[in-house]
Symmetry: C2
Subunit: 641 residues, 2 copies
């Protein structure tokens, strides 16, 4: 029996006893130490880098660790086994998957403008933004020996008098009764109730002292496979009280939904996956938002969740295997009567959890909420809505009809499956141009500091520029040589975007042929999904009048470059609009407006779903699209090669 | 700092560090060791006996501990302080206040006959005993690639089809959704739902495999200040699945409601008092009942609670000080929307908690439920209903009107405030006659073994017999001498009912003048409450046509003797009926029948409440009644002295 100590950021040390031969990644999971492992531990992604700082482990060599790095102690946790006592440093990625990570560009002026613009559009479309949760101020008569009505009845009578709602139709739940006696007396019988109406009934949600300045707040959460983004909102004013984002802690059980479902079916798995997202991801994010807004958890009366079908199921702790197994049946598309306390999210004890409806196993609430936010349901123009998340989902149509589909684009747009990939946080290369002559790149880095990795929009730019400069060919292979081109012993080429010596980082930031190949498959999936869906309707891309691109890829996305690499159809650039995190915007609207909630429910019921794998031409279309820009260059007349 | 170790039954040892001078009873509370302390630690009741088996403590001498017992290590915990390391043996009373104690005579054929008789009467009165919780068997079509309806919708559609209730009016809560996917598949889509109707809505409470033999069960609890009594019932057949009783663990915070309220207002007190009754008393009782019935907690879908106002409040964890402080305002009389999980009682996650309504701060749900069970609301005869609990509550009236009042009788009827008092469990003297000549008693002992103490009915008999034999006078003082009469150094007399030598017990079983005095005050409270209430209505006891006596005092109560000592008015003996634990019977009826629940609610709203302390003649009437049988002997013509 050996002792393995994991050294985390902030001088936190987690020790666990281990047997010789135990896998280090498994051990970390057992010790509840979060290590990023998108490939779920098969050695392919190279993300589970840890540093041996004392003692010994047995590690297989990996293309993800250079000899120099190896000498410096770097190992892949998934390829290392215990062979003695050891101290293992776990990079700060662990805490990144809690609350500290902020998707920087979502706070940019551009993002805010997108957000405000969508809100204005929704108002223009006649969506009422006033909340159904309101304050009801009440002054009660104090009891006396001649007026010994109990506290609850005194309150109910006052609500009856103030609202006209008959006594027996007013609901006063235990959570309100619990401290009622204290609140009434401490406030000298001057209170304000938080109430809502449910048909002909009134529900009392809370009773506060009349002079309380606590708001009626709500929490909108976009729960992605990779990241989460939350908004804390004052439901009376619509004002955003706090905005934050972070990683989904479930990532250590796999980058994609399939691996997580498989993990969740192991003994204790449902609880483990739920804890990873609730306890490790949502609660720290929510708590930090409360802190920054300066409000109490019990002032948050409602939560809206927009997430894909699997994320919904895992969050709710539901049996999810039927989602991934033919005939692909989720527990629910639409679910009501959910409360945040059911899943251990502590806010007001009566806070409802409203889940944006799913449409199918692979088109979830993030898409119904996002479709609502895209406003394509309210426009006569033929519009395409594309959400670039860990999967790619597309909706096409207008105010007359809507069709949706999903494709396995993989996590490349969020920096996954890319050796130096990362999300659009500080240090990420988010844009790039390359000089065709010198092959020297000019990089734009989030936060302005030294580059650490590459985010989605950066990868699009880099591949488009490498292709434009003739450094890579249509298959993504490096075809020019130079000081920035390097090849390993197997002949695999890399293009070095920034040298370690120049930045003082732990490694060079580069893109290699495997990365490019992964990305080409991702963009090919998006393009072929687009054309296949249009074909199924008897259309081709020329009918498209608007394209709304959403997702964490960021406002930095260069639409010209995205067309150049053949990710989007070659239609006029002015048709393209980046609309930010539409899932989050949709959740925000649902939080504030019961009309928005109804509309999203209606979209969920009316939108059709196209299962691409059942479409005859899809695989051929996908293979043809796995080329820069496309095997059929005629589809991209504007791309000058 | 010293180490005090409490040795409990079953070789359990609880150690705690203590400072010199710390009170042993307080220390035990801190260590969460249950010691019986009905007087809440003022040295008067003598119940907190512990045995010093090693080390030392400082103890004040007490009339409750003989010199012999002292030498043997016996001490009163409340009168002992830490002065060194010590090992303290805590008698098994601790576990008695969990689940192991059974009120034996409630299982007697007489009790069962009472129970069945009341049920028959209720049926005759037209109360419908069919439950609103029913099974709905359903066979669903299995999903296919052509029928991909999600699980919840599939179920809702089937319920809609089977019941005619429209889809949107069917409530499927999270607790059902949670395992729905598994249950549907494991049962091959053949299930039975547990449903209930709420107005025009149907609530799905559970989904079970069609072949499950789990019942729809309910739990009725009579929650007394001293004891609790539970029934586990099959709601479909009305059959009693298990029956058990135990002690209320809150007793270590005081025998009466006032001391417990005071304790509950200390920091953490609400939680502490709630835990003492929920975690230590109800859950062990409930669990043992489930075990004996062979059913799962999740098969219990409803709980009915009948308890006094303070017990209700402490169980629900409510702020209770206003209950005891003028103007005596409870948080509620009637409360809805309660669920057992709100207070940590784990049964079916959707199990409601139905609380029999209170009428005032000192007349609670035990009395509304009990009044229902007494059936006096359905009779033309002028009837008196007396519940002898830790407090005494009385209801007088008939089918036209009902008036209630409460008096502080104290715990004497349950064996409290009596040096050898105990509840009616094995070893309790429950009946007694004394030979006037020889002064030799003939004892009837519960369980038939050696006497250990005296329960309520035994005390009535003993005092009546001592009085009849001229051994005590009207003031309760011993006026004859003999081998069974003993006096201590202060001159206080005792009458020895059984000698230690004869039984092999730890002490003689005796009744002393303080005990008799305590009991005379208790019976005086009952009698004066009766006459004061009748006087307030312009009546005297001659109008009474029926007396229904309820409470844990047991079916052994000798009505003749109760009249002899002046506890009940001197009216024909055939008017008196012992109706057992009417609070429990009432809770049972409420569990099974929504009509019974409505009737109890109605009784709660219509019954008037007389505050005795506001009645001018009450104190004089009480003082006059504190004599055997009464200072005005003319009121008891049948008593031959």
């Amino acid at each position: 029996m050996y002792k393995i100590e994991f050294a985390l950021s902030g001088d936190v040390r987690v020790a666990i006893d281990a047997n010789s031969g135990e896998n280090l990644l498994e051990l970390a999971r057992k010790a509840n130490v979060a290590i990023d492992a998108p490939c779920s531990g098969n050695g392919s992604c190279g993300k589970c880098r840890v540093r041996l700082v004392q003692g010994q482990v047995d590690s297989a060599s990996s293309r993800h660790i250079s000899e120099e790095e190896y000498a410096d102690g770097w190992r892949l946790a998934c390829c290392s086994t215990v062979s003695g006592d050891a101290v293992i440093e776990v990079p700060d990625i662990a805490s990144a998957y809690r609350s500290r990570m902020k998707v920087a560009d979502l706070d940019s002026p551009e993002e805010i403008a997108i957000f405000e613009g969508l809100r204005t559009q929704m108002l223009a479309a006649g969506i009422d933004f006033s909340s159904d949760l309101t304050f009801l101020p009440l002054t009660l008569s104090a009891p006396t020996l001649d007026d010994t009505m109990p506290d609850n009845e005194r309150l109910l009578r006052a609500v009856e008098e103030a609202t006209g709602c008959p006594y027996e139709k007013i609901i006063l739940p235990y959570a309100v009764l619990q401290d009622l006696s204290l609140v009434l007396r401490e406030s000298s019988w001057n209170v304000k109730c938080v109430i809502s109406r449910d048909g002909d009934r009134i529900q009392i949600r809370d009773v506060l002292p009349a002079d309380s300045d606590a708001p009626i707040a709500g929490f909108a959460l976009d729960l992605g496979t990779t990241s989460l983004a939350g908004l804390l909102v004052d439901l009376k004013s619509g004002k955003i009280l706090a905005k934050a984002s972070g990683g989904n802690g479930q990532i250590r059980y796999g980058a994609d939904v399939i691996n997580r479902i498989i993990e969740s079916e192991k003994p204790g798995g449902r609880k483990r996956l739920q804890d990873a997202v609730v306890q490790e991801s949502i609660l720290p994010l929510f708590t930090s938002m409360l802190h920054s807004a300066g409000i109490e958890a019990r002032s948050v009366y409602r939560m809206v969740l927009a997430g894909n079908t699997t994320m919904n199921h895992l969050l709710l702790g539901l049996h999810s295997d039927p989602v991934r197994m033919e005939p692909f049946i989720p527990s629910f598309f639409h679910a009501g009567y959910l409360y945040t306390r059911d899943i251990g999210i502590t806010m007001n004890p009566l806070a409802e959890l409203i889940v944006a409806p799913n449409i199918g196993s692979y088109v979830g609430g993030d898409i119904t909420a996002g479709t609502f936010a895209s406003m394509i349901w309210n426009k006569p123009e033929m519009s395409l809505f594309i959400d670039l998340g860990t999967n790619g989902e597309l909706v096409f149509g207008n105010s007359e009809f809507l069709m949706s589909c999903a494709c396995s684009a993989g996590p490349a747009f969020e920096g996954g499956d890319i050796s130096c990939g990362m999300r659009a946080t500080d240090g990420a290369i988010e844009a790039c141009t390359i000089d065709k002559e010198t092959m020297e790149p000019a990089l734009t880095v989030v936060g302005g500091g030294a580059p650490v990795g590459i985010c989605g929009s950066g990868i699009i730019d880099i591949i488009a520029e490498l292709f434009r400069c003739g450094i890579i060919n249509g298959k993504g292979k490096l075809i020019r040589e130079g000081r920035r081109v390097r090849r390993d012993e197997h002949g695999m080429g890399s293009f070095i975007l920034s040298f370690r010596e120049d930045t003082g980082g732990v490694k060079d930031v580069a893109i290699n042929e495997v990365d490019i190949d992964n990305f080409i498959r991702a963009k090919g999936a998006i393009f072929s999904a687009t054309t296949t869906m249009l074909t199924s309707l008897g259309f081709d891309p020329s009918v498209i009048e608007r394209v709304y691109v959403a997702g964490g890829i960021g406002s930095g996305i260069n639409m010209r470059n995205a067309v150049t690499i053949g990710m989007f159809p070659d239609i006029p650039l002015e048709y393209f609009h980046y609309i930010g995190n539409s899932s989050q915007t949709g959740a925000f609207a649902m939080l504030l407006s019961s009309e928005a909630r109804e509309k999203v429910e209606e979209l969920g019921r009316s939108m059709t779903y196209l299962e691409l794998s059942n479409e005859p031409g899809y695989m051929d279309a996908f293979v043809a699209a796995c080329f820069l820009p496309h095997t059929d260059a005629a589809l991209f007349p504007s791309v000058d090669i």
